[in-house]
């Protein structure tokens, strides 16, 4: 397993040490080791059922660990709620509710208390600021369902920004979104990342990862590789994740292909 050495000057934010998650008798994640530094953009790749969403659920404190440990700034995920914002896959959200963009972004400011600690004016300002950051302020009063797939992702990112979480988990942020919208989301992620947020994105696309992300975490139940995409995304790692389908991937970007040039 390739594991990037942690730079002594950097601050490890998320540390997974032999993390295992089981659903009944079925292992979903086995002995996953990695250490993500603060402020990194990390792509989490792997096949369907490879454990990407399970890992996000573990980081978010939604599933218990069978073995090992997972810490966020030295704390258990259950104790770090509020520091993590999760944008789930689109089909896990109940779209029956006719909600405005404003209501969805405001969810980032809701907590256990029934009476908000913020004044109405402050809440409105935070919502507007978050929507301005994702370029959708003019859509504030529109029904969320009237937006395109890319715009919905940006609204959910605005919700995370309103929450002011340090870590953003985006599950399949690029699926069912056209190429133009993918570029918009990526630009947005870059600008959020510049503000010091740590961002993990689960994606199926392993092409050009080195242009977009600082690090890649390759999962297929276990950690196949973790580190700089241009170094760790070798044909062997791709094959370990996806079996013999390596020809489906644009291998011009793979390290071994570069060596052949």
């Amino acid at each position: 397993m390739d594991t990037k050495e942690v730079n002594s000057a950097s601050t490890p934010l998320i540390i997974s040490d032999g993390c295992c998650v089981h659903f009944g008798n079925t292992p979903a994640l086995e002995s996953v080791n990695f250490s993500i530094d603060k402020g990194k953009k990390v792509a989490v790749v792997g096949p369907n059922g490879g454990g990407k969403s399970t890992l996000f659920n573990a980081i978010a404190g939604l599933v218990p660990l069978e073995e090992g440990s997972l810490t966020i700034e030295g704390k258990n995920p259950e104790d770090s709620k509020g520091a993590v914002s999760y944008v789930p896959q689109k089909d896990l959200i109940n779209w029956n509710f006719p909600l405005s963009v404003k209501q969805v972004v405001e969810m980032g400011l809701i907590n256990r208390k029934t009476i908000s600690i913020f004044s109405r004016k402050k809440i409105n300002n935070k919502i507007k600021e978050a929507l301005k950051n994702v370029g959708l302020l003019e859509k504030i009063d529109e029904n969320i369902k009237s937006l395109s797939g890319g715009q919905i992702q940006r609204v959910l990112i605005a919700r995370a920004l309103a929450q002011d979480a340090d870590i953003l988990l985006l599950d399949e942020a690029f699926s069912a979104v056209d190429i133009g919208a993918q570029e918009d989301i990526m630009q947005l992620i870059n600008s959020i990342n510049l503000d010091g947020k740590t961002i993990l994105i689960a994606t199926h696309d392993v092409n050009n990862l080195e242009d977009k992300f600082d690090e890649v975490l390759c999962l297929n139940k276990h950690c196949c590789a973790y580190g700089d995409p241009s170094e760790v995304l070798t044909p062997e790692v791709i094959e370990e994740m996806y079996g013999s389908h390596i020809d489906l991937i644009n291998n011009a970007h793979l390290p071994s292909s570069k060596n052949n040039d």
């Binding site: 914002s85 999760y86 896990l92 969810m107 809701i110």
Partner: protein, 280 residues
């Protein structure tokens, strides 16, 4: 003209019925939009049917149906919630099993305990039989449901829209889940004398469904649902008085008529906006 509308209320029992009808209609239609958007209609129907054995035992022990209200509602909500969560046969199947078995158990207990209950009234409602203490209890239940919904509105909405996002944010989603089940159960048990076990679902679902067709936002749909629910309750009560009809089914049919009007107006409005687009 106004005398005709006031005529039924020269009788005390009609005043009691009117207050109970309004309270039941408002209580059910407040929760209706949450129920239909969360696809919980079948669950609500199971809750209504699951009340039968509890009513049988309660009446046997000397309580009235409305006195059983809150404790019965909590018992049903927790029972259903726990059984559904802990059986891995699928939520729909688990609800179906509880629905039919509890209903059957209710009939068996009524027979075994020799409980004196008018089954037709229990199944279809008999609002004209409510006494003053029933009225107080139903109004109290309405205030309880509305207050809790207002207090937890944003949390319930977040949890209903995005349960994973809500849990990650730190909301107590298990509490919110049971809270909604208990509120739903309270509204159902509190409305049994108005519309009965079989028809309570119609007053929960139909005003909310009609409101959804003519509303743009969720908050508006709740307000419109309450207006439709209360209108159906009052109109149904009038129809039952003037035409000597059963009150529960009359309310249910008025709610259905409101839904048909909302459905047609929604169709016409959509057709109108479509032809405007075509012309432009």
């Amino acid at each position: 003209m106004i005398d005709i509308f006031l005529e039924p209320f020269k009788y005390d029992f009609m005043i009691r019925s009117l207050i109970t009808a309004i309270a039941s209609g408002a209580m059910l239609s407040t929760l209706g939009p949450f129920t239909i958007n969360r696809n919980m209609g079948f669950m609500a129907d199971a809750m209504a049917h699951a009340t039968l054995p509890i009513i049988a035992v309660g009446v046997f022990l000397g309580f009235s149906i409305s006195e059983l209200g809150v404790p019965a509602a909590i018992l049903i909500a927790v029972l259903l919630g726990v059984i559904i969560k802990n059986t891995n046969v699928g939520e729909d199947t688990a609800i179906g099993i509880i629905f039919s078995s509890f209903f059957a158990l209710g009939f068996v207990l009524i027979s075994l305990l020799n409980v004196t209950i008018n089954l037709e009234d229990l199944l279809f409602g008999q609002i004209l039989a409510v006494n003053t203490s029933d009225v107080y209890i139903v109004v109290f239940l309405l205030l309880l449901v509305v207050t809790i919904v207002l207090l937890f509105f944003k949390q319930l909405l977040f949890y209903s829209f995005d349960p994973i996002g809500a849990e990650v944010k730190g909301l107590n989603t298990s509490f919110l889940n049971y809270l909604f089940l208990i509120l739903l159960s309270i509204a159902i048990v509190g409305s049994l004398q108005t519309v009965g076990i079989i028809l309570v679902l119609s007053m929960l679902i139909i005003p909310a469904a009609a409101a959804k067709l003519v509303s743009n936002t969720f908050v508006t749909s709740i307000k419109v649902s309450i207006v439709f629910g209360v209108t159906a309750s009052i109109t149904g009560l009038y129809l039952s008085y003037f035409f000597n009809l059963p009150s529960g089914p009359s309310m249910s049919l008025v709610a259905t008529a409101i839904f048909v009007v909302a459905f047609l107006s929604n169709k016409i409005r959509k057709k109108g906006s479509l032809s405007t687009v075509t012309i432009s």
